[in-house]
Amino acid sequence: MWNYTEAVHDHFLRPHNVGPLEGANAIGEVGSLACGDALKLYLKISEQGIIEDATFETFGCASAIASSSVLTDMIKGMHVEDALKISNKDIANSLGGLPKQKMHCSVMGQEALEAAIRQWKGEPPVPHAHEEGKLVCKCFGVTDAQIIRAIRENGLKTVEEVTNYTKAGGACGECLDEIGEILAAELKQTSFVELKPKQRLTNVQRMQLVLKTIEEEIRPLLAADGGDIELVDVDGLRVVVSLRGRCAQCRSSDVTIRDLVQRLLREHVEPDIVVEEA
C-alpha cells in the first residue's frame, strides 16, 4: 500500500472541481487509456488572462486524481503567465509530497495545464513537437524533450527516477538504454557546470569536510564488509587514516585506501587530496 499523505487522501476521496466546465475556453488533455492515466483539464480564462475557473476529469490512481484536484485549486484566480510557472514539484508539494514512483502524476498535471494554456493562446497543442522531440518510449509516447525536461526540473539522477517522473521505461523496458544515454549526457553537462574551480578550503573547513565524508560516505561502505576506518591526522592535503576491523587484515588494503577512501575524499572534499595509511 502506498504511503499517501492526508492531503492526497483528502483530495482523492473528496476531489474539488470535478467534471466538465461550462463555458470553458481552454482544454488540456494528456495521457490515454492505454497509458493507465489521463487528465482532461478545463479552464475558463478571461480576456485579461486570468483563470477564472478550472475543473478536471481524471482517469487514474489516487495520486493522479489528487494532483488534478489540487492543481485546479492552485490555479484559480491566477494569471496564465503565472500558472505556466507552476512546476510538477509545486503540485506534488502542495499535496505534502507524492511517493517517488508516482511523481509522473504531478507531471501529468503540469503538462495538461500547459496544453490548455497553449490552446487558449492558439499555439500548437503539443509543445514538444516544437522542441523537435524524438520519441524515446513507445509504450508511453514519451519524447527525449520530455525526459530532458524532467531531468532538469527535478534534478533526476537515475533511470529509475526518470521512469517515476515520466513513465518512460515503465513497461516493456526497451527504451531503458536510450533513457540511460540521455541521462548520462545530461548529467555530464551539469557536472561540467559544477566543476568550476572551487574556493581553497581553510584547514578547519577541510578537516570538517574530511570528517563528514568519512562518517557519511566511507564508513558505511567499509562497515558493509565488516571493516572500519579511523582518521589519524590531516596535514594540509595529506590525510592519514588507519583501517580497522576486517579491512585492517585485508591484503588489498592499499587498494581500499586508493580506490575508495582517496577517491571519495577527492570527490567530496578537494581534488588533490592524498591519503596515506598510518
Binding site: 470535478v18 492505454a34 482517469f59
Partner: protein
C-alpha cells in the same frame, strides 16, 4: 470498522487449529529434529507426521515431500534442479502467465543461453494445446506450468500436459501454490515430477513451503550444507511452521470437499451481484474452469488502484491487476497476455475468498461496490 478480507490469493488467515498446534513448538518442544537425543527425537517425529499429512493431501508418499521456506524457493529449486541434472538439454517451456517466482527464474536461464518457449493464452487465459505439443522437443529440459493462475484462477490441464511431456521424456514441474488446499490433487494419478506449494495460501503461516519430488526423479539441492531433508535441502527445519502446515494440510483434507462448494457459491453470488449492479463490468478468465475462490473483474474506464483505495476505506481488502499498485505502470502481465482491452485491464480487481468468508461479507461488498465505481466513473474523462 470490520475488515472484509477478500485477498486470500495473496495470503490467508492462519487457522486457529494451526496456531494452537504451533505454540508448543515455540515453547517446550524446542529440540532440533536432527539431534540424537529423545528430546529432539520427539520433535523429529512430529515433523515426520506433518510430512505425512501433507503427503496425504497430495496423494504422495512422505519421502517425496521436501520442506522449503516458501513457494518461490520450491519453484526456484525445481527449475534449478532440472537444469543442473540435464546439462545437455537447453530448452525450457513455460507460459506467459506464470508467477514471477517461475517467470523470473526462467528468464534468468534464458539470459544464460537457454532457449525458452513462453506459451501464450487466449482471451480467457486458456493455453493452446497444439502450440504446446509443437513446443515439446528432445532438447527440452523442463516444462514448468502453473496448476492454477493466481490472478484469474484458471486451472490448467496439468494431467494432459504432464502426460504429453512424459511421452517425450521431459520433466514436468507445476507451481501449485494457488491450488493446494483449494481443489483436489492426486499425485498418485497425476504424473507431474515436481510440484511447488506454499503454506500461507492454505491457512498456515508465511515462511513455509514444500516441493514434491516424484520418486526416481533426479534432484540436485539448491541449498547445500547439512544433511537435513535427506540431503536435499540444508538448513535446520522450520519446525513450528512445518507442524502448522501439517495441521493445515489435515484441515484441507478433512473439509475441502464441502468448503469448495461453499466458497464457490459465495464467490458466484458476489460476482453475480457485482456484475448485475455495475454496468460495463466483466469477469476475466475461464469461468468454467477456475479455482472456486477466485474472481477477477474488470470495470471499464476506471483505474484499479483508485478502486482498491476506496474499497480500503470501507474495510474491504482486495487486490488489483492494475499496474499502479505495484509501482510498475502496465496492467498485470496476465491480463495483458489475455489481451484484455486497456480500458478494462487497468480497472481490474481480484476478489479471492476463503473458508472464513461469510455471507454478510459478500452482501456488504455487493452493497458498497457500485458506489465506488460510480464515484470514479464520474471523475473519469472516458465516458463512452
Amino acid at each position: 470498522m470490520k475488515t472484509i478480507y477478500l485477498d486470500n490469493n495473496a495470503t490467508t488467515a492462519v487457522a486457529p487449529e494451526v496456531r494452537d498446534a504451533i505454540v508448543p513448538y515455540l515453547s517446550d518442544l524446542y529440540g532440533n529434529p536432527s539431534s540424537m537425543h529423545t528430546f529432539g527425537g520427539q520433535v523429529g517425529d512430529a515433523v515426520e507426521a506433518a510430512r505425512e499429512n501433507l503427503a496425504n493431501l497430495l496423494g504422495a508418499s512422505p519421502d517425496e515431500i521436501l520442506f522449503t521456506s516458501c513457494g518461490s524457493e520450491s519453484d526456484n529449486a525445481a527449475i534449478w534442479s532440472a537444469v543442473q541434472t540435464q546439462p545437455e538439454k537447453r530448452h525450457l517451456i513455460t507460459t506467459r502467465v506464470e508467477h514471477p517466482a517461475v517467470l523470473n527464474v526462467i528468464q534468468h536461464w534464458e539470459r544464460h543461453g537457454y532457449r525458452v518457449t513462453y506459451l501464450g493464452v487466449d482471451n480467457k487465459g486458456r493455453l493452446d494445446m497444439d502450440e504446446y505439443a509443437q513446443a515439446l522437443s528432445e532438447d527440452t529440459a523442463l516444462v514448468s506450468i502453473m496448476f492454477a493462475n493466481n490472478e484469474v484462477g484458471n486451472i490448467y490441464p496439468i494431467q494432459r500436459m504432464s502426460e504429453m511431456a512424459h511421452e517425450k521424456g521431459i520433466l514436468f514441474h507445476t507451481d501449485a501454490v494457488q491450488t493446494v488446499g483449494k481443489t483436489p490433487i492426486d499425485l498418485s494419478h497425476l504424473p507431474v515430477d515436481m510440484l511447488s506449494l506454499s503454506g500461507h495460501k492454505l491457512h498456515a503461516p508465511k515462511g513455509i513451503g514444500a516441493l514434491y519430488i516424484r520418486k526416481g526423479v533426479r534432484f540436485r539441492p539448491f541449498l547445500r550444507g547439512g544433511h537435513q531433508e535427506r540431503g536435499r535441502r540444508a538448513g535446520t527445519e522450520n519446525v513450528p511452521y512445518i507442524i502448522g502446515m501439517g495441521v493445515a494440510a489435515q484441515l484441507a483434507l478433512d473439509h475441502m470437499q464441502e468448503e469448495r462448494v461453499q466458497v464457490a457459491l459465495l464467490r458466484d453470488k458476489l460476482e453475480a451481484g457485482i456484475l448485475e449492479r455495475i454496468p460495463d463490468s466483466m469477469v476475466n478468465g475461464d469461468i468454467e474452469n477456475r479455482l472456486p475462490n477466485t474472481s477477477n473483474i474488470s470495470f471499464k474506464n476506471v483505474e484499479g488502484e483508485a478502486i482498491l483505495l476506496m474499497l480500503d476505506r470501507l474495510g474491504i481488502c482486495a487486490s488489483s491487476g492494475s499496474a499502479c499498485t505495484s509501482g510498475s505502470l502496465e496492467p498485470s502481465h496476465v491480463l495483458r497476455a489475455m489481451g484484455v482491452p486497456f480500458n478494462y485491464a487497468h480497472g481490474s480487481v481480484r476478489l479471492s475468498l476463503s473458508r472464513y468468508t461469510t455471507d454478510e461479507d459478500v452482501d456488504f461488498v455487493i452493497e458498497h461496490f457500485p458506489q465506488v465505481i460510480e464515484t470514479l466513473r464520474a471523475i473519469s474523462p472516458f465516458k463512452d
